[in-house]
Assembly symmetry: C2
Homo-oligomer: 473 residues x 2
Amino acid sequence: MMPFIEQCRQLLGDDYLLTDAATMGGYLTDYRQRYTGRALAVCRPADTNELAQLIALCNQYQVAIVPQGGNTGLVLGSVPDQSGSAVVISLRRLNQVRALDPVNNTITVDAGCTLQQVQQAADAANRLFPLSLASEGSCTIGGNLSTNAGGTAVLHYGNARELCLGLEVVTPRGEIWNGLRGLRKDNTGYDLRDLYIGAEGTLGIISAAVLKLFPKPQSQVTALAAVSSVEAALDLFHFIRSHGNDVALTAFELISAYCLTLVQKHLPQMKAPPLTNHPYYVLIEFSSQQNEIATMQSLETVLQRALQNNLTGDVVIAASLAQSAALWILRESISDAQKAEGKNIKHDISLPISQIAEFIAETDAQLQAQFPGSRMVTFGHVGDGNLHYNVSAPENSDVDAFLLKQNQINRVVYDSVARHAGSISAEHGLGALKRDDIVRYKSAVEMQLMRTIKLALDPNNIMNPGKVVMPQP
Amino acid sequence: MMPFIEQCRQLLGDDYLLTDAATMGGYLTDYRQRYTGRALAVCRPADTNELAQLIALCNQYQVAIVPQGGNTGLVLGSVPDQSGSAVVISLRRLNQVRALDPVNNTITVDAGCTLQQVQQAADAANRLFPLSLASEGSCTIGGNLSTNAGGTAVLHYGNARELCLGLEVVTPRGEIWNGLRGLRKDNTGYDLRDLYIGAEGTLGIISAAVLKLFPKPQSQVTALAAVSSVEAALDLFHFIRSHGNDVALTAFELISAYCLTLVQKHLPQMKAPPLTNHPYYVLIEFSSQQNEIATMQSLETVLQRALQNNLTGDVVIAASLAQSAALWILRESISDAQKAEGKNIKHDISLPISQIAEFIAETDAQLQAQFPGSRMVTFGHVGDGNLHYNVSAPENSDVDAFLLKQNQINRVVYDSVARHAGSISAEHGLGALKRDDIVRYKSAVEMQLMRTIKLALDPNNIMNPGKVVMPQP
């Protein structure tokens, strides 16, 4: 391997080829700190050309590549396995905003820009880049695209996929495909862009992207509404969508009462609004081109009508930006609060919206029957059909013993998801973590189509091998 | 070939296997009636299972397949070549609405349903399926998806691609991939859906789809506004998007004054509003959850402010549904009026919105210099960057002689499109018509990626061969 490493060093320079355990450390462990892999080296190319040469070198020596952005993924997609034979290629030095076209409402960015950097560049041009995630300060746009990230703004603006117009990709042979188009319409052949988006770096490495920008809302108003059931939450969702004075409903997040209890217990500084006796709450956000007073009036009006129609219980409308931020922090703190309560088992699932209530009722009951005392921490982007359906161990029980049942619990949840025509990974991807699970839920025809594509575009299986799909059944 | 045809007959029944010239006729000639191909037979399977068996049979005998929906395509994608060795497979008998889920806001339909049929089924459930095209009465949803159709509602709702959540596809081996998911979020592997969408039947045949539905607008209001230039039209576009009281801007169509002149000349019954001295007009549509009076007020207000800012000249707001329909018919009549004026050369192109004005000025000048007297009939979905940039022969000239220059004219236009980072096919696809043109404008890397995918998914090259991309360079 020396000639390979030496050639990498010549290409990248000493500072950007890491080979010792100390400097590689952070690149080898996943975000949740549950897994540490090994690698031949961590490579940090400076730009697309260097990246392309590096990949050509890997191809020549048949060295496996693990592409990595901010390494904030939740499915072990961006860390190497135990073999120690792969290189991690970090995209973080590709971090330039290449161009911003305010008339076309597009921004062209390197893959290693953080999501926050892209948001800020858009904001500086009085535009909105709407993708928004808890990890936006450290995740990169290349990773967001490679995993087709979701987040809280999907309801109105779509997933990362819908926010991208064009890509630059380096193929496993080290060729650069320049597909950096800023076009809303382009029907000239196969949709390569969407093939690379969500492929988790297994078909090539996204090195840059053209992203859509939007007019910046003039005001955003947030409310927390109590609801009597999941069904009621969905009724409220449809009611607001049709009676909101055309104001964009940009978030509709379901939060179970137990989530808020956990937040109040572990993060009392969060100042949750006084809880009533409702099993669920929804966080509602309106975004408008009008001023705040008008937007608040629209939200008040529709919630008042919803109240009259018994679609909601108590409602708190944030009266200031600070109150609004507090409601959002409350929502974003659920994971931390659950973590403080103890290790837990997470499921990032999606369902047809019409199946959500039945899914929750049925699966809650199954879990209680098989794992009595399990505590459900249920929240999520319910307007998109996306639930974070997390399970904590019974109170005062042996958490580690509970975690040993993870596979059985996953099976119950995923089988129920499948019966309700849902997906076992709504926004996190498959990575290495769900690679084998998915085989149970996709048809043989679909798995074979995926393998065919993998084999065709990465015939030597050097691009993030072992993630998403194995080339052989 | 007899055993093949006989097996087809056994499978389909006599009535649904057409082999004589008279009954095959309509399936062999393209929509614009410029090309007639030949075929071994026209096959009309009853459902997905029959379709799958038929394709397996074609694969066994290595018979080429030309999939066909409503046969309304404009790029010779749905008619066979001259070899007479292919079968046309018509999807028109697969015409059932399989399911409509009002809570999930989805409809599941067979590929052979006409677009109008889907619109009507949605409407009957008090929902909107927004895809809308001139040929909606006869085009099919399978064709719309296979060509990623655009139309007039793309601005707010997106192309056919953005309106589709799931597909059922029959592969070239005759296997059925059931990807009929009704999920807004699903990150479990490669995006097969978007690979088949826009592939023009060259990778497999779409047999059914799950489509997104939307709340039905309570009111729609239309206006025609005069503008002093293309730049002014785009300024107006951005102004309305940011100052329209949150009402959805669902259409923003550019129409050159000459287009309206042609309509008034050839279709005087159209009653265009009195023309002022402006070079361009825009057709503006607002769609709202509020009542018509409120919507009209919003449109009036924003147009008044635009007028005060010198962004628009005279404005006509449709005061009734009938007036609104009349404005739309005016827009939809441009093609017919141009046809009545004589045969012409059409270009369906797209550009970054920031390049449109410069593109038009520059390309108009080039064409005038090289083909003096050429008459530009320029209109289109300018909010999406999509122009129908059509060229008529000089007045009182020899039209057929002019048409002989089509390739030279295309070259001028397409080269200019490429210089302005645009696409030579915005919404019509490549088919056989632009298959060779595109090779000039896409990189070798991109063409090779397309060939790799074609070869991987259709190794025997039986799916619509000769369309989109040739398997060998």
